[in-house]
Amino acid sequence: MSAPVKLKYTVPGDDFTRAGEASGSVKKALKKLGVCPDAVRKVAIAMYEGEINMVIHANGGEITVEITPEAVDMVLRDQGPGIENIDLAMQEGYSTAPDNVRALGFGAGMGLPNMKKYTDEMKVESEVGVGTTVTMRVYIKQ
């Protein structure tokens, strides 16, 4: 792999059953590129959590992924309601997900903390009423 590989996905907000399609596709692409399994799993989990969040909270959004020999960079951008208190949202167990989402197996307040756990760098920028952008990086061990 010499030139960066760039991937872009639109995440539909109205179909929970399709949440995870983009992450699955990135996982497949990374495997094909021969990226080490540890990095593949970290990217897949972090992006999947982000994708689920987009569907639950923000009516979908856009994800761009850039893969270089050194790292995988993910940018998840939505135009949802925004996060009022990012510090609180980063705490394990804090969730604003409705009961119907919990019934589907999510909304335990582990999404953002999990994304942080599985990535090497993560930045959350959010404005209430405007949207949220999550930027994440996972380094690829050579």
């Binding site: 995870g20 799993r41 999947y48 335990a108």
Partner: protein, 117 residues
């Protein structure tokens, strides 16, 4: 043990993935909360759950799991089955409840992997 051993111990019905029954599995986890599976599971190859929706398969895929067991005889729909087939994941349904199913596997040597958070 193999996926086939798991099937016998749990008297499970194989829903898809018959070709992968000889795959080795060493650890398992049981949960209805996919958030927890993503947060706490490490290197487990079998997921036991009472939750039946496509996100169960996607979660197992992200975690590189090889087999999903639906407890209490729950049956996935066609969309879930085709997603599992695409991802080469074995689906089974056991008539046992979650606690008993986990206990039977544990008793037969399948461990939890990371017992303490």
């Amino acid at each position: 043990m193999t996926v086939s051993d798991v099937q016998k111990i749990l008297k499970a019905q194989v829903i898809c993935g018959e070709d992968s029954m000889d795959r080795e599995v060493h650890t398992a986890c049981g949960s209805d909360m996919m958030s927890d599976v993503l947060a706490f599971v490490k290197d487990q190859s079998v997921l036991l759950t009472g939750l039946v929706n496509p996100q169960v398969v996607r979660t197992a895929d992200m975690m590189d799991m090889v087999c999903i067991i639906f407890v209490r005889g729950k049956q996935p729909d066609d969309a879930i089955i085709s997603l599992a087939k695409e991802r080469d994941i074995v689906l089974m349904a056991t008539p046992y409840r979650m606690f008993t199913a986990c206990g039977l596997l544990y008793e037969n040597g399948l461990k939890g992997g990371c017992d303490i958070v």
